[in-house]
Symmetry: C2
Subunit: 381 residues, 2 copies
């Protein structure tokens, strides 16, 4: 088989991740921050260690600037709804995932103004267009770091500078880039960064997080028990407690930290060069197959290993079904929860078939996919 | 060792739970509902199976009335904020956890009226007092099924009838009762039921859920990708998608289903009688030790296996520390995230030491705890 749906969730995970999750469940069963006994302290130490690992990985000010969430969508909702109030103006690109678009769309029903800056048909975004969209009431710029449809990387450094100079908050959706591209929240002027644990970081599902820059006060999406200031009915005002209520996913978060350690050992540049090599080979091979359309800007370097395509004469679901059932190749068809992106690249009516690679994919698998596409395409002519 | 902090999180879990979580991570790595390939379908089947198991366990109308969340606190926030609007009146007891109290307290800053019905000093609630508190704008009654401080069980059947007759929504916090007391959402007139996965259901941390009665439309707390109606910027209006955005914790949820299967095999009445037996023996033993105060109404039957106590002359943290360090007994001291309950039972200044049992605790462990308390108490005289 060849699993090419890593943009949805990466699989497999490193052996250490599986082992850590199991170990933590079996041996460190306490509730972190909820008591002072050994099992609770062991669990709290695991969580703190994961915060340290993530803070170091992102160059955050301190471990307490890392908030653990259920997934990146949860983190994006916490950020977006923690910032925006009626009368505020928010800017996004036209390549956003529904995890950014739907919360903002819901807020437009309560007086938030939303401006979608149009990207080019290849998915690229001109930072000048962001600058032009700024209004006196612009409170937030929310941009995906890379499109989950085309892999197009957005100019977040330029946008970060634009936002910081104008005192506008900058939220980055790192769903497709964390663990692949270098992220340095302080040098890149990122105020809020939402990330999944189960994609490029190779942690288990049920994990994600939000980096919150020191000094930014979000209104919490959830309140509840934090194991701190328990005598107060108001939510504690300190990070991470302000944004973390209820029992955390201790085994999952420990697994996530293990995934990050695995990446650090490999080095992100090694991960990138492997995935770039797979992507290049795949794109080269695709060029030789008649009837295939590739979306995005596949010849530029600013792409992560996410490729959307269609085969002439075939519906995207049909193609994905054939690849899975006949060739044991797993890809994702349709809109990938990103209708804005499909409107941008002109595929809203039919969707695309998405191939997305991880460090565990091989050249042999790429070759297998190319042969399968060649065969399918020749038959559909 | 003797782990008596099961009200915070149960430990150990059944062997099948550990194995299922690991197996799912290793073998069924897809993202449920995000594609049509085998790995995504396997993951979707696991989630659907867990919904069926939970729906059957609670006597819900259908699997789609079960929404999976990060924990019970997340579920309570989804329910409370999904229902209440400025001008609405909400009734709770004075024994609520901060997971109910803090979200409601936050809403009082936006025009929601909150009435806290006072329980007796032993933690018991008279349903007549709920009836008296109802006003024309009462929209929600939110009650814990059993106190996490004293184990006192609340008269949810009577309150359910009162609420249903008056067309008021009834939310039950089942954090301390799910997997122990029988819950039948339809017969008990429960509209919304929030539950943790990692306590009485013996699932892993990072799991929980919300039952939503058919026909109740909540405003979602989160919006995002659902793998459904992806062309729409508005959140899908159907359950469970309306309230479930982003990637679910597939291995955790599969583990939760396994925990419920473990309980069903044992039978809840067996779980209850084991925990009642442990509780009875513990309470009997405590009576013979001088200088111990037990809170709640320990002689009535309406209690779950959660016992709060203090030893004369000792701070609760001191006692818990001694039990852990000298006797390897894990309990929780302090306020247990429930200041309202401590005000009710008169321990807001000092807190209590909480012992909470699970099916895995033994009579020998109870005996060990009693001997330890006897020794500590005799020295502190």
């Amino acid at each position: 088989m060849a699993y090419f749906d890593n943009a949805a969730t990466s699989w497999p995970k490193p052996e250490e991740v599986y082992k850590t999750v199991e170990d933590v469940m079996r041996k460190f069963g306490g509730n972190p921050g909820r008591s002072g006994h050994k099992k609770a302290l062991e669990a709290a130490r695991l969580i703190y260690d994961a915060r340290e690992v993530m803070a170091d990985f992102l160059n955050a000010e301190s471990p307490s600037n890392i908030v653990f969430t259920m997934n990146a969508t949860d983190a994006l909702n916490i950020a977006i709804k923690g910032v925006l109030r009626p009368g505020d103006h928010v800017i996004t690109s036209s390549m956003e995932h529904n995890s950014v678009a739907r919360p903002i769309y819901a807020l437009t029903k309560c007086g938030v103004e939303w401006e979608i800056v149009k990207c080019a048909k290849d998915g690229t975004l001109d930072p000048e267009d962001i600058l032009k969209a700024i209004k006196p009431n612009t409170r937030l710029i929310a941009i995906t770091h890379a499109s989950n449809v085309t892999g197009t990387v957005m100019p977040i450094e330029e946008i970060g500078r634009i936002a910081r100079e104008r005192d506008i908050l900058f939220l980055v959706d790192a769903a497709q880039t964390i663990g692949i591209l270098d992220i340095d929240v302080r040098n890149q002027n990122i105020d809020l960064l939402a990330f999944p644990g189960h994609k490029g970081l190779y942690g288990p599902q049920g994990t994600g997080g939000l980096y919150v820059r020191e000094g930014i006060k979000l209104t919490p999406l959830r309140q509840g028990g934090t194991g701190s200031f328990s005598e107060e009915l108001s939510q504690p005002d300190i990070l991470p407690d302000l944004l973390e209520s209820g029992t955390l996913n201790t085994p999952g978060i420990a697994g996530l930290a293990e995934g990050v350690r695995f990446l650090k050992k490999l080095g992100l540049s090694h991960v990138r060069s492997h995935e770039e090599m797979l992507t290049r080979r795949f794109l080269e091979g695709l060029k030789k197959i008649e009837g295939i359309t590739v979306y995005g800007c596949p010849h530029k370097k600013s792409e992560v290993a996410v490729i959307s395509l269609n085969v002439r004469g075939l519906d995207s679901s049909e193609l994905a079904f054939l690849l899975d059932s006949k060739y044991d190749i797993q890809v994702r068809p349709g809109l990938h929860c990103s209708p804005l992106a499909h409107e941008t690249i002109g595929t809203i009516d039919k969707g695309t078939v998405r191939f997305s690679f991880s460090i565990f994919n091989t050249i042999e698998e790429i070759q297998k996919a190319l042969s399968a596409l060649e065969e399918i395409s020749s038959k559909s002519r």
